[in-house]
Amino acid sequence: MRKNLAMFFVVLLLAASLAGCTTGTDNGEMVIQYNVGTEPETMDVHLSTGIPEASIMLQIYEGLTRMDALGQPQAALAKTWDISEDKTEYTFHLRESKWANGEPLTAHDLAWSWKRSLDPELAADYAYMLYPIEGAEAYNSGKGNLADVGIEAVDDLTLKVKLVGPTPYFLSLVSFKTYYPVYKQFVEADPEGWHLKVETTVANGPFKMEKWENNQIEFVPNEHYWDAGAVKADRLVFSMVENASTELTMFENGDLHMTNTVPGQEIPRLKAMPELHIFPYLGTYYYIFNMEKAPFDDIRVRKALTMAIDRQKIVDKVTQGGQLPAFAFVPPGIPEPNGNDFREKGRDYFEENLETAKDLLAAAGYPNGEGFPAFSILYNTSEDHKLIAEAIQEMWKQNLGITNVTLTNEEWGTYLQSRDEGAFTVARAGWIGDYNDPNTFLDMWTTGNGNNNSGYTNAEYDKLVAECLQESDMNSRNEKLHRMEDIFMEEMPIMPIYYYTLPAMVSENLKGYSSIIIGGVDFKTAYIAE
């Protein structure tokens, strides 16, 4: 026994002495360490959908445009572009650029890549990101031909794209993963596994992948990148730590320059530290009312419940991540054609008012909550969702006298099924914008839309969504989008709670990175200040 103990301490001591050697990879190299939060589901750019993947691919790929922190597209692979009068034809003029292996990158590569994205046999989730392109949806759904898809490489440096309708956010779309160029030769050689190997992942971004082992990816600058001069870091090291507490410990230990998130409950302690950053994030957290179930078919009930919670308290005391109380559905951060914020012009659609809420509830036949039927709040397994549900349950009880609210927690798969089937009364949900335009928040509430879980239906709303797709006058399109939100929020099929934020810890000497409002961190110009 004593021997074992002694052995154990020897191991510990050995461990301690070795610990000194492993940390601190810097030998004059500028290394930036970041945690992407989880292992990427796939490294095939056209198949991937998530934010962690976006963060990885942003470093090694580049589309026609590159998104800045505010979610606005900037010229990248494309130097300039011409847009036709009716806004349905885009001609991109590419700059001369190379793949990371030094081969030239042409408009033909892009056209081939985009068409691959749409290939029904590839079966990409995000193929619908290309649906604004003429013939794309038909080809992807097996109803049309590849030849009819409106993508054409006119010459090596000119790409012409025909759209179904004016799509003002198309320049944002072309900055996405689904629109990235992939290296035809390697993809065709190994269509399933080309992206699993570092050697065959040839891309065109500011960095290239050097190695990937033990759940850690290392990138080094790509010398063939057209803007290589802007790249300052010598090496990026991305880890894939899922546990937020562990991640924070690593940060505080000096093993990370930037975290992916911060455990909400730790934020009050971290607030005193200059490293805590709250980045904007284009998303809304809300509860869905199932309008097909009484009493939620009654607008007075929906309004009363919506008005009777204290959002400021929820964001200050429960989520604590600097989220903004939400009084509408489209979050702040989306610019209008004139440059103003869409949310600033759009008004708050309700106020938290207990008296009005009580009156509305009484008018609906439930004075002081009496006789209000039992119902349940559905949420998917997560500590944060649970805390918020607990707080709201208590607020409805205190403020409206509704006592028989239960909480139903389901794991992800079951939750999705319940939500999509409408097997709930009130359910938690969140929506993160796909691109920086109000349309990504508003086109989902049309009658019968798969994402419209509330059962909401309004003919005028449906008509406006359709009109918006064809509207080429940007100001009148903007008016229509506001009108859509007005209609929707007046009927309150959902109860907005807060607008998301992205809290993260960032080392004080890390500069030049950009946390993008629709998700992902770009390290193209990042550096460590002395």
Binding site: M1, N4, V11, L12, A15, A16, L18, A19, T22, T23, E39, E41, T42, D44, L47, T49, P120, E121, L122, A123, A124, D125, A127, Y128, Y131, E137, N140, S141, G142, E192, G193, H195, L196, E213, N214, N215, Q216, S239, M240, V241, E242, N243, S245, T246, T249, M250, N253, D255, E411, W412, G413, T414, L416, Q417, S418, D420, G430, D434, G450, N451
Partner: protein, 309 residues
């Protein structure tokens, strides 16, 4: 012996087949599917995906195809980690879990058995209470709390060990302790209890009376007989621990296989669910067979073959 092994192998194959079949129909019966997304996919895209992964075939056809591929050793493509195969996932991650699991297992076995013997030889004395209370802490503190506390003290406060991730021998220490704590306590208790059983047996008294040295009595005669329960527990323990543990892997960011046992089910990643289950059940059933064979080595009275009655 040969007859026993052959019979056991046949029954093992049958058992694995039952496991696969039950798991297959269970996982298709639970709500949700691998391509049910938070943002609902347009029907045409969902169709493309289902066609590509042959999820539009009737369930029985899918079952037949799966079994045929399995016979060829092909566990299929992952639905969640697109581009990766289940064989690839297991091949990449099992070595990590195996490494960590073996260290944790060795730790649990060494410490557990020693503590158990010490306690048994000092039954009712202070030392007995002391070592048993200490080993009980391993049971009383679950791995997720122990892991977090270890990290807090050894990495965060003292800076002795790297807090997480994988790669050097140092990274093994904390997860191995977190994993090994509960088995250590259990093995200590089992050892103590069965040592006491054996020590009070007549043949022990005989050995003592014959004047054999105490050390020899304990180490040769007692332990050999007392080890049966520990051996029994070791089969499932080893199978479980070398195939990875979700909680510990999550806390210490260990790229092991344990994660996939859990997340595949949340993701409804059917092929990964089946692949990990088949893999685990093969290891478990194999180890249990070895354990049964080992019984007869430690205790010749145990007969493996059926008695002719």
């Amino acid at each position: 012996m040969l007859e026993f092994v052959v019979r056991r192998l046949l029954s093992a194959i049958l058992a694995i087949w039952v496991v696969i079949t039950v798991t297959f129909f269970f996982m298709h019966a639970i709500p949700g599917g691998p391509f049910q997304r938070d943002k609902v996919l347009p029907p045409a895209i969902k169709e493309n995906i289902e066609k590509r992964y042959k999820l539009d075939d009737p369930l029985l056809v899918q079952y037949k195809d799966y079994m045929l591929n399995l016979l060829k050793g092909d566990l299929g493509p992952s639905f969640k980690y697109r581009g990766q195969t289940v064989n690839g996932i297991i091949a990449a991650r099992f070595p990590v879990s195996l490494q960590l699991g073996l260290v944790a297992f060795a730790f649990a076995l060494l410490v557990g058995v020693s503590v158990g013997i010490v306690a048994a030889l000092n039954q009712g004395k202070i030392l007995d209470y002391l070592v048993m209370s200490f080993s009980t802490l391993g049971v009383a503190i679950p791995s997720f709390i122990l892991g977090t506390l270890l990290m807090l003290v050894l990495s965060y406060k003292l800076g002795l060990l790297p807090p997480a991730t994988w790669g050097t021998p140092l990274h093994i220490i904390m997860p191995a302790i977190s994993l090994g704590a509960l088995p250590t306590a259990y093995i200590a208790r089992l050892t103590r209890s069965s040592m006491l059983d054996v020590l009070s047996q007549d043949y022990m008294k005989t050995a003592k009376a014959k004047g054999l040295p105490r050390r020899r009595i304990v180490w040769v005669h007692a332990i050999k007989n007392a080890i049966i329960p520990v051996l029994t527990y070791s089969g499932p323990l080893l199978a479980g621990i070398i195939t990875g543990t979700f909680v510990v892997e999550n806390i210490f960011a260990v790229p092991g296989l344990g994660k996939h046992f859990v997340t595949s089910i949340y993701n409804r990643d059917y092929t990964v669910i089946l692949g990990t289950t088949v893999f685990y059940s093969m290891i478990l059933i194999g180890l249990n067979m070895l354990v049964d064979i080992a019984y007869s080595q430690f205790d010749p009275r145990i007969k493996l073959s059926a008695r002719k009655e």
